[in-house]
């Protein structure tokens, strides 16, 4: 019984360590190197930011399917403003504002009008995606219209010195992701806002009758999730120095998967930001390691899906055992 409880609580973490060990052994030269890790964190940074935002709404027991298309839309909006000749700062600000507004619309649909999050955000997913296509005319915005400073941001970073004759740097995108995780951690774990979100997630009726302003908080939480999606969209656009109306589409499923993986590690099965970070790392490390092992990308998809099912069912079975 004790072993089962431990497995439920730490099973995912143990799995993560096993995955690391397998890759370390099979890729002794390249896997456990500072260079590879810094590279991985940069690849993960967009997913990290979206997953952090997703943790906010999932703390209330809701979720947001529109984050991927909101990310694409933000990139496109910034790109369109670049073409129109606006300064980069203004374009980035406008793109973030679009994300915030898109999230707030989700919040209004869910909390004021009372549509189920699944349906509301499924609808806005297609709306935001459609908007991105309309604004871009379906074409990728790239080349000269993207300001150099915007494209360079993702390529630059904090120099960390040389190791073995190779210059290392902490990528800017990684720094952004860490900053976002820190902010979400403060918000969810250290403020009344976060406490109330978890109360809503635990028992919405009891929270409401205890004076928690449920509507307002739901609206704010969805707005923040939209903002994080926009941030990720901009990071993506900077990294590839172009904006494409579909470039964020892979983020949504992976972000939800990362939060679910994290939930298998928390005490009461609730989403916690630091657990989400581990969830993101698992997905990222799997991707990185399997790519290095030259595993076919379709097989990779199957493996990643299977691992998510395994982790979440272990959690569910452990919970049943407690009853």
């Amino acid at each position: 019984m004790m072993a089962l409880a431990l497995l439920r609580r730490y099973g995912t973490l143990i799995g993560f360590v096993l995955i690391l060990a397998v890759f370390w052994i099979s890729l002794p030269e390249t896997f456990m190197t500072a260079r590879n890790w810094l590279n991985t964190t940069q690849q993960l940074s967009m997913l990290m930011v979206v997953a952090a935002g997703m943790t906010i709404v999932m703390a209330m027991g809701d979720f947001d399917l529109s984050v991927g298309s909101a990310a694409s839309l933000a990139g496109i909006v910034a790109g369109a403003l670049f073409i129109a000749g606006y300064p980069p700062a203004m374009a980035v600000g406008a793109a973030l504002a679009i994300g915030l507004a898109g999230g707030a619309i989700n919040g209004v649909l869910v909390s004021v009008i009372g549509i189920l999050p699944f349906i509301a955000t499924l609808a806005t997913l297609t709306i935001y995606s459609g908007l991105a296509f309309v604004i871009s005319g379906g074409k990728t915005i790239s080349g000269k219209s993207i300001p150099e400073s915007f494209g360079n941001f993702a390529r630059e970073g904090l120099p960390l010195g040389e190791v073995g004759g190779v210059a290392l740097m902490l990528p800017n995108l990684t720094i952004v992701a860490v900053a976002v995780v820190f902010l979400v951690w403060v918000l969810l774990e250290q403020t009344t806002f976060g406490r109330r979100l978890y109360a809503i997630g635990g028992n919405i009726e009891a929270a409401y009758l205890s004076g928690v302003p449920v509507r307002r908080l739901k609206l704010a939480a969805f707005a923040l999730t939209g903002l994080s999606a926009a941030g990720a969209g901009l990071m993506y656009a900077s990294r590839v120095a172009s904006a494409n109306p579909t470039q964020g589409s892979g983020l949504m499923l992976n972000a939800i998967a990362a939060v679910f993986l994290g939930m298998t590690m928390s005490e009461q099965g609730e989403p916690r930001i630091l657990a989400t970070v581990i969830g993101v790392l698992i997905l990222g490390v799997l991707d990185n390691g399997l790519t290095q092992l030259a595993v076919d990308s379709y097989i990779r998809q199957i493996l990643v899906g299977a691992i998510i099912v395994l982790a979440v069912s272990a959690g569910a079975l452990g919970k049943r055992g407690r009853r």
């Binding site: 774990e189 928690v212 302003p213």
Partner: protein, 506 residues
């Protein structure tokens, strides 16, 4: 001829006995009343008959042969039909489809639904109850509550091949019906009796029972107290049997008398559930709200607490206008609320005690109203937990790990967390063991000594008499009178709830 006999039925929930020794014998061709106060065990007994729950111990015989109701299907096959208190309708389906819910639709060629036959059968079922004004093609949701209830009832009377109905179990079927509708129902019940069928009839309306039923069985505290012929018992005897126990030392005495200053005034308030309710509660006073279940007590509290809108009338708190738009407003204004269902409405079960305690006034426990101070919160919750005599391993224990009585104390600790001026209580001791009950009564007394006003909604009459200064009686969303609790006996109060003698007291 005995149709069904139940002996020594016992059932406990999580160690708390709901039924301890129930004996009941039903004869073919009789209408048998099942009576008792709320919590006496009537609902549990019905759920056992319906096969929804299993007794811990019971001997059940039908026609002299042992039977078990291991599932709702088994009860149905044995010929039992149920009309529950709750509506349980499907609003989006037609009246005819609602009548056939849970039954096999008539078909053509074994595959296609025979809609004409379906509607004809439904029509006949409705006509039998004299419900000629309802079209079987109308949506169930468009009907009045009374008509919906009648449709549900008619469905139970639908005859079926294979499993003929032998016993109808009706749980307060007339609660939503007019007098004429009730009379039509009674006519059908008498027809069933004449045809050799049996009816187990649960009702709080004693006059109805006296007029309709042949025999009555009275339950109290999960035990059969008596069974007898209705013709040989008086109305008052029946009430006395139901109440039974004395108001004793179960309630701590008041420490001080109310000062006479007014705390809360409701003047002619109304909305969809309340009509012209006027109520005055003094500082340090406990005002009880009595009435049959569903008379608007819960809605009154929800209106005072800002959950239900205040459409008409005015509220004043300490002489100033009070118009809450949400529970958050009510907490800020100095109200506190202990809801009826502590698990679904009161607690975030998956969170620790201290988070539950500080939830209503979290900002005041936080740095600048924003940043959490968990250590201060724990200390605060531990102090309040001491005040309410909470028994827990510490403020970090999860709410779901506590017993019912201690969970309720956590809800009380939250209610006291902002030094409220008005405390609204809805069945505060339901499902709470005797020891915790006394603790909760003591907490309420302590708070009134500090000038807090209390409104106590309860279906437990001894509790109302033992704790309150005054008791207001509600019926169908209205206040029908207010009596002093001093020297009041349960019988008088019960009669007031049933609408007898209310005029004299008002």
């Amino acid at each position: 001829m005995t149709l069904l006999s139940l002996s020594h039925v016992a059932k406990a929930y999580a160690g708390v006995p709901a039924l301890s020794d129930v004996n009941l014998t039903l004869a073919a061709g009789e209408i048998h009343a099942l009576m008792g106060e709320n919590g006496a065990g009537k609902s549990t007994l019905i759920r056992i008959l319906a096969g929804v729950i299993q007794p811990d111990r019971a001997t059940i015989e039908m026609d002299g042969r042992p039977v078990t109701f291991e599932s709702p299907g088994a009860a149905h096959r044995l010929g039992l039909r149920f009309i529950h208190q709750e509506l349980n309708t499907v609003p989006a389906l037609s009246v005819a489809e609602n009548i056939f819910v849970g039954r096999r639709y008539p078909t053509r060629a074994g595959v296609f639904v025979d809609w004409r036959q379906l509607h004809a059968t439904a029509r006949a079922a409705l006509d039998r109850l004299g419900i000629t004004h309802v079209d079987t093609r109308r949506k169930m949701g468009s009907l009045s509550i009374g008509d919906q209830m009648l449709v549900r009832i008619s469905s139970a009377f639908l005859s079926e091949a294979g499993a003929p109905a032998r016993l109808y179990v009706m749980d307060e079927p007339t609660a939503a019906l007019t007098r004429e509708e009730s009379e039509r129902l009674f006519r059908v019940l008498r027809e069933i009796r004449a045809g050799g069928g049996a009816v187990l009839y649960v009702s709080h309306r004693i006059d109805e029972v006296m007029a309709l039923c042949d025999r009555a069985t009275v339950l109290r505290d999960g035990t059969t107290i008596d069974t007898g012929r209705v013709a040989e018992i008086t109305h008052d005897d029946l009430v006395a049997l139901m109440i039974g126990r004395k108001v004793g030392e179960a309630y701590p005495p008041p420490a001080t008398r109310p000062s006479g200053e007014v705390a809360l005034v409701a003047q002619g308030i109304g909305n969809g559930a309340l009509a012209d309710v006027t109520l005055r509660v003094g500082k340090g006073e406990i005002v009880g709200i009595a009435g049959l279940s569903g008379s608007g007590q819960r809605e009154l509290l929800r209106t005072l607490f800002g959950d239900l809108p205040l459409r008409r009338g005015t509220l004043e708190l300490d002489g100033r206008p009070y118009h809450p738009k949400s529970p958050a407003d009510a907490w800020r204004a100095g109200f506190a609320y202990v809801p009826r269902e502590r698990r679904s409405e009161g607690l975030v079960l998956s969170r620790p005690i201290f988070e539950n305690v500080t939830l209503a006034h979290l900002a005041s426990q936080s740095l600048g109203g924003t940043f959490l101070r968990p250590r201060a919160e724990r200390a605060f919750a531990a102090r309040l937990g001491g005040d309410v005599r909470l028994r827990a391993t510490g403020p970090g224990q999860l709410a779901l790990q506590l017993s019912g009585g201690n969970q309720q104390k956590v809800v009380f600790a939250r209610a006291l967390s902002g030094n409220p001026r008005v405390l609204l209580l809805d069945e505060p001791t339901r499902g709470v063991d005797v020891g915790a009950k006394f603790d909760i009564y003591s907490i309420i007394r302590d708070m009134t000594a500090n000038g807090m006003a209390v409104i106590l909604v309860s279906s437990d009459l001894p509790e109302l008499i033992g704790m309150c200064d005054r008791i207001a009686i509600m019926r169908e969303g209205r206040m029908t009178g207010t009596v002093s609790a001093r020297g009041l006996n349960e019988e008088t109060l019960l009669n007031l709830c049933y609408g007898r003698g209310a005029e004299a007291a008002a």
